[in-house]
């Protein structure tokens, strides 16, 4: 299986603190990776580096065969811990704006149809007119996932997608993610709720002090040693 992402010797310093300390790894296409670790282990920094949001102190990232991340950002979906949505606009208004940024209509799909599709995919109602600021935390989280899916990305980077989401909705999100993985997407999920991805994730990656310390497909074995 070909590598969708290759990271080589990633180092990220924030002043004297090293958030990433020489991370090197290959990630195959069409797999779902769960990135685990304690707070401050470097999970979010790694995800932001993959998204091209954090300039690296050292190291390189190759994504979809290129090290020019700007050239592949249209094929990337990114969901952060904050919602990345405008609180004063409705979910549909938010998605319409972001659809313009990705020029979805130039890819032969109608903006409105695509926005409605992703809202349905995350089990929300596209006719909701109230502003996102009035959504519950769980609804905001799902709308945030809808925004990340808008451009039908080949690589999905999700930071804590299940936080503040009830068990049933989290289960629905996992089903959606496995479906996307089966359709060939490469998915990275940073989470503290690893159990939700048991049986769904292809690989669990444990990070500690800015380094990847173990990779396994067996969550139980990993949790026993941690």
């Amino acid at each position: 299986m070909s590598a969708a992402v290759i990271v080589t010797d990633l180092v990220k310093q924030f002043g004297r603190f090293a958030a990433l300390r020489g991370v090197s790894a290959e990630f195959a296409a069409g797999r779902l990776y769960a990135i685990l670790g304690d707070n401050g282990a470097g999970k979010t920094t790694l995800l932001r580096a993959l998204a091209g949001l954090t300039p690296l102190t050292r190291g390189s990232i190759s994504m979809l065969g290129t090290t020019d991340l700007r050239s592949v950002c249209g094929q990337l979906g990114y969901m952060a811990h904050p919602s990345l949505l405008y609180d004063e606009m409705s979910g549909m208004e938010n998605l319409r704006y972001f659809a313009r940024l990705y020029e979805i209509s130039d890819r032969g799909q109608n903006n409105e149809d695509r926005c409605a599709d992703v809202i349905r995919a995350v089990k929300l109602d596209s006719s909701l007119t109230r502003p996102v600021g009035q959504y519950s935390q769980g609804m905001r989280q799902r709308m945030s996932l809808a925004r990340a899916l808008l451009n039908d990305p080949k690589i999905l980077l999700l930071d804590e997608p299940f936080s503040n989401v009830d068990i049933r909705s989290a289960g629905e999100m996992v089903t959606l993610l496995t479906g996307l993985r089966d359709a060939g997407k490469t998915i990275f999920v940073v989470t503290h709720q690893a159990a939700l991805l048991e049986g769904a994730a292809d690989e669990f990656i444990w990070m500690e002090a800015g380094q990847i310390v173990s990779r396994t497909s067996d969550l139980a074995a990993m949790t026993e040693t941690k």
Binding site: T54, Y78, A80, P82, L85, F98
Partner: protein, 225 residues
């Protein structure tokens, strides 16, 4: 190019919609300018001739300070929920975002000027003795100078801890040539004592240079951490 124009339009429409719903920037600017007009009119009681001499400075200083309020708001909105990151990971060109912000701020400050100018005229008993048709030209060029620099430096100070203080510290020194040209041109038109042509040309040159420089550098500012 069409992509930049289209994305600028989309971002501008989004910003105008957000401002229409919250009215954060326009309310703060109006309140601030109103205070300046009223306090200065009570502080001294100049004759109409004196008013014409000082009005240029007074008007532009009021608009400059009021604009800072709008400029801070413009980026603060993008920082809530880290929405700016959504733009940064998208393939949309940075210049489209910058142009939309500049045009949006230009509209907000122009609305403010349209509302406040009649008050200035009444409170300071103003009447142009020079060519009055030049006033809108000076207003447009001067406002553009303020917002193009202000939008750029507000973006630069976005991630600093005390950005409300940082923006004036960066913006005011670099705006001195433009401010001087605005004040002198406005004074020349109101008093009719000398031609404003030189100051208008200076202002136009300043606008061109700083617009090009800001467009050229904004990508670096946006991608900086």
């Amino acid at each position: 190019m069409s992509s930049v124009a289209g994305l600028t339009r989309a971002t501008l429409a989004k910003d105008l919609r957000l401002e229409w719903r919250s009215k954060d920037a326009i309310n703060s600017m109006l309140f601030f300018s109103l205070l300046v007009v009223v306090i200065f009119s009570f502080s001294f009681d100049p004759t109409a001739e004196e008013s014409r001499r000082i009005a240029g400075g007074l008007v532009w200083v009021a608009f400059l300070f009021a604009a800072v309020v709008a400029l801070n708001q413009t980026w603060a909105r993008e920082m809530r929920n880290q929405v700016l990151d959504a733009y940064r990971v998208s393939p949309a060109p940075p210049n489209a975002l910058f142009l939309a912000k500049v045009i949006g701020n230009f509209i907000f400050v122009t609305v403010l000027q349209a509302l406040m100018t009649p008050l200035f005229v009444v409170f300071y008993n103003l009447r142009a003795l020079g060519p009055a048709y030049q006033l809108p030209i000076v207003a447009a060029l001067g406002t553009w100078a303020l917002v193009v620099n202000g939008t750029f430096f507000a973006a630069m100070s976005l991630r600093t801890r005390s950005r409300e203080i940082m923006l004036p510290l960066l913006l005011f020194p670099i705006s001195i040539p433009a401010l001087l040209a605005m004040v002198e041109a406005t004074g020349a038109i109101l008093t009719g004592e000398f031609s404003a042509r030189f100051w208008i040309v200076l202002l136009a040159a300043y606008d061109v240079v700083f617009t090009i420089a800001s467009l050229f550098l904004f990508g670096l500012v946006l991608q900086a951490e």
